[in-house]
C-alpha cells in the first residue's frame, strides 16, 4: 500500500530516480552524461534510504546499459535504463529491436534531451526517436510530473509489453521542485525467463509478424482515453484558435498566456504522450480549429502527427525550427499568433566567461606538452572535460564518444597516402570514454596498420559528469567493490606494441615519451603508440592532498609576452592590463607549479610549500 510520506525538494533527475525506486523497479543501469547523470546517483540514494534491494550499475556505455536492463525485464522484473539523448544513438541497436520483440517486466527508457543545447553535441529530439522505433513516450513539464510519469510508464509498459520512454529535457532534469514522496511499491517478483525463441531470438521470418503486433499495440495506445490531452478551456470568444504544447514549453506557455490574459480565453491543450498522439485528439484538433499553434521541443513530433497545413509551428516556422524555446521566444510566438501588440523582450545575447580546465588539471600539462612537441600535429580528441583542451589549441576535433581514435586513423591514412613525411597525429581520449567506445577504435587502428599516437588521459574518474567511478577504479555505483579492469591490459590485448605510462605533471619526461612514441610510429616496425597520461583528477580531495604544493608567484622579469596565457591557459594566471604583466590569483591556484616551466624568461617562480610525494 502506498502512503503519502513527505514533501521533498528534488531535482528533476532525483524525482525520476525516486520514481524508479517507488515503482518496484529492481534494476537500473546508466552511463553518465549531462543532463541525465544524477538519475542513477539518486536511485542509489533512495534505494539506500528506503532499504529497497536493487541492482544499480554504471555500465561501460549506453548500449551495454540498455541490454543489461532489457535482459532483466525478460525475467518479468521491472527495470530501467537512463542516458542522455546522444546516449540513445549508442544504444540505438538494441533500442530499435526491443520495440519489435517487446518486454516482459515493465521497462522504462529514460532519455534526457538537451534543447539549446547546453551540454551536448546535438539537440536531437528523442520523441522522434521513439516514433521511429514505434514506442510510446511521456514528456514531463516539471520534476513532480516526471516522477508521476515513471509510474504511468511502467504500467503502460507492462500492459502492452513494450519499452516505454520518459523524455525529460534539461530544464526538467535540472529544475528543483517540492515533490511528494511515497514508500516504494514491493513487487516481490521472482526471476522467471520463459524460453520463446520465436520471440527472443526472432529470426527474420518472425519479424513481419512482430512488426504487425507492434503496430497493433501502438494503434491501441493511440486510442486510449486516459492519454487524451488535457485542456484549459477558453470562453468561446476565440473558438477557431487553439494552442497545443508539451513538456517544459507547456509550463512556459501557460505562464505567459496567464500574464497576457489569455488563460480561460483560448483553448490550451497539454500533451503528456507526444507519441503516439491520441487518434481522437488529432481528429478533434483538425476538425474543430482553423488557427492552431503547436509549441514543443525540439522537433515537430506532435505537429507532424497532426499533419494539417493550417498549423503554425516549427514546420511553418511560426516557431523557430531549432534551439531551445526560452520564455522570451515563446512570448514572441504567442503574441504574433494571438495578434497581441508588442514584440516581447528580445532574447538578448548573454556573453560571459568560457569554461576552462581547472587550475592544476593534469590534462592542461598533457595538452601543453603535446602541442609544444608537435606544433604541426593534428590532434583529434573526444568527449569529456578534456574537450576544453581546445582553449590551448590542442584539440582539433570532437565528434562523439570514441570517435577521436577512429578519426585519428582516418587522418593518418589520408596523409600517409600522400607522403612519407606525414604530420604526427595525436588522439586524446579520457579513461572513461576509452572504456565506453574507444576500445573498438583502437583495435581497428592496430589491425589496419595506422601509425599515430593515442594518449589516454587517465585521471581515474569520469570527471565531467561529476566524478563517477570507471571500471579501472573498480568501485560500483553504490560504493561497493567491483572487479577492476586495467587499461594497460586492454591496450596490450588490442595488439598495441608501444605502451608507456607517464605523469604529465613531469613535463620533460612526458615530452620525451611523446617523442619516443613518434619515433616508434615512424619506424619500420611502427604502428599505433599508446601513452597513458596518468594523474588523478584534482577534484579528488585525497589525491590532491598527496601531491607537492608550490607557492607560485611572478617576478618583475615578466615581459607580458602572454605565452603562458595563450599556450597554458590556466584560469589562475591573470593578465593585468595596467602593468602589462601576469600575476597569479592565489585564491584559485592549487600550486601545481607547472606554469613555471612554461614561461620563456623564467619569471614564474614555484617554491615548494607542502604536500608529499
Amino acid at each position: 500500500m502506498e502512503i503519502e510520506m513527505e514533501q521533498k525538494i528534488l531535482m528533476g533527475n532525483e524525482a525520476i530516480g525516486r520514481g524508479l525506486v517507488e515503482s518496484g523497479c529492481s534494476l537500473v543501469s546508466s552511463y553518465p552524461g549531462t543532463p541525465a547523470s544524477e538519475i542513477l546517483e539518486s536511485v542509489v540514494t533512495f534505494a539506500g534510504e528506503t532499504e529497497t534491494p536493487m541492482h544499480i550499475e554504471w555500465s561501460v556505455n549506453e548500449k551495454v546499459a540498455y541490454e543489461v536492463a532489457l535482459g532483466h525485464s525478460y525475467t518479468g522484473k521491472r527495470s530501467a535504463v537512463a542516458m542522455k539523448q546522444v546516449g540513445l544513438n549508442v544504444a540505438s541497436d538494441p533500442f530499435m529491436r526491443s520495440a519489435y520483440l517487446g518486454v516482459t517486466g515493465g521497462f522504462v527508457v529514460v532519455v534526457a534531451d538537451d534543447p539549446g543545447p547546453h551540454s551536448s553535441q546535438t539537440e536531437q529530439d528523442s520523441r522522434s526517436f521513439a516514433q521511429f522505433a514505434r514506442i510510446p513516450v511521456f514528456d514531463p513539464s516539471n520534476p513532480a510530473e516526471a516522477k508521476e510519469m515513471v509510474g504511468r510508464a511502467f504500467e503502460l509498459s507492462e500492459q502492452y509489453e513494450l519499452p516505454v520512454m520518459l523524455r525529460p529535457t534539461t530544464r526538467v532534469c535540472h529544475a528543483r521542485q517540492n515533490v511528494s514522496c511515497l514508500s516504494p511499491e514491493v513487487l516481490s517478483r521472482k526471476a522467471q525467463f520463459e524460453r520463446n525463441p520465436g520471440r527472443w531470438v526472432a529470426t527474420p521470418k518472425f519479424l513481419t509478424d512482430l512488426h504487425r503486433q507492434l503496430n497493433d499495440k501502438i494503434d491501441a495506445i493511440a486510442g486510449l482515453v486516459e492519454l487524451y490531452p488535457s485542456c484549459v478551456k477558453g470562453d468561446g470568444s476565440m473558438d477557431r484558435y487553439c494552442i497545443v504544447s508539451s513538456g517544459v514549453a507547456y509550463a512556459n506557455t501557460y505562464e505567459i498566456l496567464e500574464d497576457l490574459g489569455f488563460i480561460g480565453k483560448v483553448d490550451l491543450f497539454k500533451v503528456d504522450v507526444p507519441y503516439p498522439l491520441n487518434r481522437h485528439f488529432i481528429e478533434h484538433i483538425t476538425s474543430e480549429y482553423t488557427k492552431i499553434l503547436v509549441i514543443e521541443e525540439t522537433y515537430p513530433t506532435i505537429e507532424m502527427q497532426l499533419s494539417n497545413r493550417a498549423i503554425a509551428g516549427r514546420i511553418s516556422k511560426a516557431v523557430p525550427d531549432y534551439g531551445e524555446l526560452t520564455p522570451e521566444i515563446i512570448e514572441k510566438v504567442l503574441k504574433a499568433f494571438l495578434n497581441v501588440p508588442g514584440k516581447g523582450e528580445p532574447d538578448a545575447e548573454e556573453g560571459g566567461v568560457r569554461p576552462s580546465l581547472c587550475p592544476g588539471c593534469s590534462h592542461r600539462a598533457a595538452f601543453y606538452a603535446i602541442r609544444k612537441t608537435f606544433p604541426k600535429g593534428i590532434l583529434p580528441s573526444d568527449i569529456g572535460c578534456y574537450t576544453l583542451g581546445m582553449n590551448l589549441g590542442a584539440v582539433d576535433t570532437c565528434h562523439c564518444m570514441g570517435a577521436g581514435i577512429s578519426q585519428g586513423a582516418g587522418l593518418y591514412h589520408a596523409y600517409a597516402a600522400d607522403s612519407s613525411d606525414y604530420p604526427t597525429v595525436v588522439a586524446t581520449i579520457g579513461d572513461s570514454t576509452f572504456f565506453h567506445a574507444g576500445i573498438p577504435g583502437l583495435i581497428n587502428a592496430v589491425f589496419t596498420g595506422a601509425r599515430f599516437i593515442v594518449v589516454i588521459l587517465d585521471n581515474s574518474t569520469t570527471a565531467m559528469t561529476g566524478n563517477q567511478p570507471t571500471p579501472q577504479v573498480g568501485i560500483m555505483a553504490d560504493g561497493t567493490p567491483g572487479n577492476t579492469v586495467y587499461i594497460p591490459d586492454l591496450v596490450k590485448a588490442s595488439g598495441v606494441r608501444f605502451l608507456r605510462e607517464s605523469d604529465p605533471y613531469d613535463l620533460d619526461s612526458f615530452i620525451s615519451t611523446l617523442k619516443e612514441a613518434d619515433r616508434f610510429c615512424r619506424s619500420d616496425e611502427g604502428g599505433v603508440a599508446v601513452i597513458i597520461a596518468k594523474h588523478p583528477c584534482i577534484m579528488d580531495r585525497e589525491a590532491r592532498k598527496k601531491q607537492i604544493r608550490y607557492r607560485v608567484t611572478v617576478t618583475e622579469e615578466c615581459t607580458g609576452c602572454n605565452v603562458c596565457m595563450k599556450q597554458f591557459e590556466c584560469p589562475s594566471l591573470i593578465f593585468d592590463e595596467a602593468s602589462e604583466k601576469v600575476s597569479v590569483d592565489q585564491n584559485s591556484c592549487i600550486g601545481c607549479g607547472i606554469c613555471s616551466s612554461v614561461c620563456p624568461v623564467g619569471a614564474i617562480v614555484a617554491e615548494e610549500v607542502g604536500g608529499k610525494k
Binding site: 547546453h118 528543483r176 517540492n178 509550463a251 560571459g352 585564491n587
Partner: protein
Amino acid sequence: MKQQIIVSGKGGQGVLFVTRLLAEAGLEMGLDVLTAETHGMAMRGGTVISHVKIGSFKSPLIRKGLADTGLFFTHSNVAIHSSYLKPDGSRVVNTDRGGAYAAIDATKYAREIGSLLVTNLVLLGYAVSQEALFCDEAVMKKVIKEASHPRNVDLNLRGFDRGLQL
C-alpha cells in the same frame, strides 16, 4: 507569497548550493518551489545562473525583466544577467567597488573567516539582512544546518552570520 530570484556567478562559486538553500527555505515555509540550474561543462569555471521561483508557478525559468532579486557572486555578471531583473528589482553584488546596488565585498569577509568557500554564504546573509529575500534569518539558518556537510556546518553558519551583521 511569490518571488523570483536569480543567482549568478562562475562555476565553482557555490551557485548551486545557494540555489538549493533557497529551495529548501521555501519548502520549510510551506511554499511551492521551482528552480532551474546550469550543469555540465559550464561548471568548470564558466558563467552560470540559477533561477528560483517561490510560490505558485508552472515553469522553472524566469523571463527577462521579471526577477525580483538578483544575487551576483561575480561583479562582471551584473552586466550579463541584469536583464532578468525588474526595473526596481534588488541586486546584491559581491564586489570591492561600489555601484548602484547593494554592494558587499563578500570575498574579503570570507577570507577573514578563513575560507573563500563561504563567499556565497556571506552574500546570502547580507541579502537576508537587506530583506531582499522571501525568507528570514531563522529559516535560512535551519536550512543551512540541514543542507551542509556536517564538516562545514559551523563554517557555513559563520559565513552567513558575517553577512547578516554587515
